[in-house]
Subunit: 333 residues, 2 copies
């Protein structure tokens, strides 16, 4: 519990204010080990806690249906900032800010950044409160620092799995990006969206490294998937039902376009797009996934068939060129 | 398409009658390879077909939420007979009766059945229409044949994954059961519910075999899981949200009982109970699954922690003895 701020007092006050009897707890995978402890805190506030055990990769995946089905009075969504414009069930977002100091990791990043002068700063919501300090360290090292704010996310410099608008908005003004946070997932997003060198300063592992080689590998895989899909005749267009991922109109539109270019296309709906789910359909030769774009980009090697994003499907039918796709944004769906 | 009756004409008529514009197709894993062909038939009837790609193990798992979210006018649920008392969305069940002849498989079962005189006959909905012929073959071989009807399922002799009432209703009148159908899954259910020798006559593989050794192995695994759970302090009680699997009251009840016997217990909700989902919670030492009992019984070896059925949890807290559980029914939840 010591690494993150779970805002116990605010949670208690909110439960009391709403007189909540049943509370649904939703956590990303990294915070699930704290689930039973967080449930106990809620129970002490007089409400019945129910933990959603399903995978949760973002605030796009708010457990509204579960909450309604279980007559829940309040959803406490941990680890992500608010994304949906409105919620059908009262919801509070506990962003789970990291309490650790990131300075040591940033110091180790300085030598890795030596070839570049103008640095763009990005991070996840867990570390947004550190950006001023990080900026200070970089300035002292003689760098110029830019933090983007495209107005779509909650904090300047923030990125989420599928939205790098803050990084993109300053991509032309910087030579490289420094991402503060754990793991490669978000840093790869920055690299893929901006085509700029991207360095991770990981405060958990206290080390810094580039993700550029991995980003390049993903680009090559995307090209290969698109080429393979061009040969496919039978397509399935996947629709997701998660609150922030449902794109039925876009799916119907790409289905029509695929059919107009001589392909067969079926609409599929899936709760989670996994290799196990897709392997049950031997007659389908390629998928277009209108739900989470990260499924296509990060898990390509796990799928037996090409799983394209919406924009990639437009390359298959010739509406977009590969070069235009690369300039546009692999994440734009 | 040739092995099963997909009732194309009835499907077309139903679409026309309801003037359905959008149709959701739901199929068990074994029929998913036919999904795109079935979609084409529906498209020819003038409706937009949407295929549910998620796993579907029974009519308990009717895709109502998906249908409502996509404004679907009709669900076509293939491969299972009606189970829910009413549906929130218009639904037709296409039972997908097998068109193949089962006689050859039954003939190969005769030598395996030689030690028993009184035989109980069971099958899934795919083969219920063959039971008269099968009975005839057994009678000609000098056997006595009993087909049970407890009134809970749609056809005499029918079993489904979690309901063996038709077999149980005649268990005292027979020496062994003959199950007509593919695979061990349902035959194991018959063996576990009745404690009688159970032989599969598999028309797909044209062979017959006993599942008794495997049933015995499962019983031993259940005993071991219960013993391990007795040592656990932190429990999670899993609630499923599938239309026919939601048992919130039972879950609340067993949570209370666990707590009264000195355990810690949290409520969890999950779309699919899989090893991957449960492994994210290192603080939980044992699970009680109030959703599908087959998850506990068939997949025990895949889970790192004990996953008990409701009745098994009662053994842990001493409300039921192991012997009583075995007499009762492992499937009763």
């Amino acid at each position: 519990m010591k690494h993150f701020d779970f805002e116990e007092e605010r949670v208690k006050q909110e439960i009391l204010k709403l007189k909540a009897k049943r509370v649904l707890i939703q956590l990303p995978e990294g915070l699930k080990p704290e689930a039973t402890l967080l449930a106990k805190i809620i129970e002490k506030s007089g409400a019945l806690p129910i933990i959603s055990a399903d995978p949760c990769y973002g605030a796009c995946d708010l457990a509204t249906v579960e909450a309604e089905s279980l007559s829940v009075d309040l959803i406490i969504h941990y680890g992500h900032s608010k994304l949906l414009k409105y919620e059908r069930v009262p919801t509070i977002y506990v962003e789970a800010r990291a309490t650790m100091n990131v300075n040591a990791a940033v110091e180790t990043a300085l030598p890795v950044l030596e070839n570049w002068q103008k640095i763009g700063l990005t991070t996840t919501v867990q570390h947004v409160q550190t950006l001023d300090d990080v900026k200070e360290i970089l300035l002292r090292a003689g760098k110029t620092v830019v933090i983007g704010d495209a107005g779509r996310l909650n904090y300047p410099g923030q990125v989420i799995g599928c939205d790098y608008s803050n990084a993109k908005s300053i991509a032309n003004d910087v030579e490289a990006f420094l991402f503060i946070g754990g793991g490669k997932f978000h840093a790869l997003g920055v690299a893929l969206s901006t085509s700029k060198p991207t360095i991770v300063a990981d405060p958990y592992e206290k080390r810094a490294y580039s993700v550029d080689k991995e980003a390049e590998k993903i680009i090559k895989q995307r090209w290969a998937s698109i080429e393979e899909a061009k040969k496919a005749k039978v397509f399935a267009v996947l629709v997701g039902l998660k609150s922030g991922q449902k794109k039925l109109e876009e799916a119907l539109d790409v289905k029509k376009k695929l059919e107009e270019s001589g392909k067969t296309a079926c609409l599929f709906v899936a709760k989670e797009v996994t290799p196990e789910v897709l392997m049950e359909f031997p007659t389908v030769e390629a998928y277009v996934n209108t739900a989470c774009p990260r499924v296509s980009l990060d898990d390509a090697s796990k799928f037996q068939k090409p799983v394209l994003t919406l924009n990639e499907a437009l390359v298959v039918i010739g509406e977009l060129s590969w070069e235009e796709l690369c300039r546009k944004d692999l994440f734009e769906n």
